[in-house]
Symmetry: C2
Subunit: 236 residues, 2 copies
């Protein structure tokens, strides 16, 4: 008897804490991971270097970095020349839509993941969206993910022919940052490789002041752990 | 009183017969058109030259050509090195999914249109999909378009805040090619500018043998019109 090969899955991997945890979860669930990152006009390449370091450490079937440029459309602090807000705390962050919102970003990213899944014959896409920490982002909510899954099942050849029932896995959806960190540590994730900061230094040192740094710090504090990224940069 | 400015709309424009007709319809309906084309790894650039000629003639607020590369994922005759099928007739063409299918293409294209619509504050996206001539393409069906519209309303900041009720217009959905041509001609469309062929010569001369050429020829014949593109190339 030949063993059944592990099923392929496309994992959206930004190189951040959340998507790296998702990659570890997909591997632990027995999927053969195909990691998909984007060069999308973000102002820093640190995120991509982190994704490459994560992939090198954890191992994947293949890593594709797709280039897309949302800057042509204008929009948000992550892609345009608007200052990243700093020094905000919980209540400020959770009011309304953050300026760091990128238009239709998850729709664009998931559509690329769907294209790759289709050519791989993969029925599974993993994405690290989270409804708690990112309550201001409309495309991080469960109803959005359900709508994309419904779309995906209508969009593809295999979906229509019934050979592929596409599933969007969002395992972090209802976890807080502390739980995400705890689950990832239990799976052996090295968070020193990951990058969350919206405005990191050239060497990857996080600014410590943006919303993403604040969320990450709160998560490690609640998990009762030191952030190995801060340790690596001599910040903790 | 200042007149109300025309509402902005994003028009997916391939430079083909269908999307050019859609641009004319959107203009006739009073929208200020923002035309969006893609350099997506198609083997010929003729399509983009046609889109540029159409835009130059018809006028738009702005034309963006976004670059995306689906070739990294492998897949179809339009983007990979698989021969374009030629000399097929109606029944052959309408059986199953054509080899010229690009994985998740309309999902990718519509997601970019959504990103631009959001930054423009536009509530309207026009797309030239058609359920009759392209029955083999899952993402050209009314239920697919309805699913994308549902997704779009959940995906965006403005959708969530209720200031933007996004609509996907697919005015050609139930028209046959002859009717599309007749409506376009009535609106003054110059079809000599458009390109439909999957495998055109360097000067834009259509091959006359691929499925797209066959569909187009049948449409003009049924509309009782000569195809001005063939006239231009001395082929009719």
């Amino acid at each position: 008897m030949t063993p059944t090969p592990p099923p392929p899955a496309v994992i959206l991997l930004s190189g951040g804490l959340d998507s790296t945890t998702v990659l570890a979860i997909a591997k632990a669930q027995g999927y053969a991971p195909y990691a998909l990152s984007f060069r999308y006009g973000q102002r820093h390449e640190q995120e991509l270097r982190a994704a490459e370091a994560v992939v090198a450490r954890m191992g994947v079937q293949r890593h594709v970095v797709a280039t897309i440029d949302l800057r042509e459309f204008g929009g948000s602090a992550l892609t345009a020349d608007i200052a990243v807000p700093k020094g905000r705390s919980g209540p400020e962050m959770s009011h309304g839509i953050p300026v760091t919102y990128v238009p239709a970003r998850n729709t664009v990213f998931l559509s690329f993941a769907l294209a790759w899944a289709e050519t791989l014959g993969a029925s599974d896409i993993f994405v690290g969206v989270n409804a708690l920490d990112y309550s201001g982002y409309p495309d991080c909510r469960p109803e959005y993910i359900a709508a994309f899954e419904a779309l995906a099942r209508l969009a593809t050849k295999a979906g229509v022919e019934g050979s592929q029932r596409l599933k969007i896995h969002a395992p972090l959806m209802h976890w807080n940052k502390a739980r995400i960190i705890q689950e990832g540590l239990a799976l052996g994730v090295d968070y020193a490789l990951t990058s969350s900061c919206y405005d990191p230094a050239e060497d990857g040192r996080p600014c410590g002041e943006c919303d993403a740094c604040a969320l990450r710090a709160k998560g490690f504090a609640e998990a009762g752990q030191a952030d190995p990224l801060l340790v690596r940069h001599g910040l903790a």
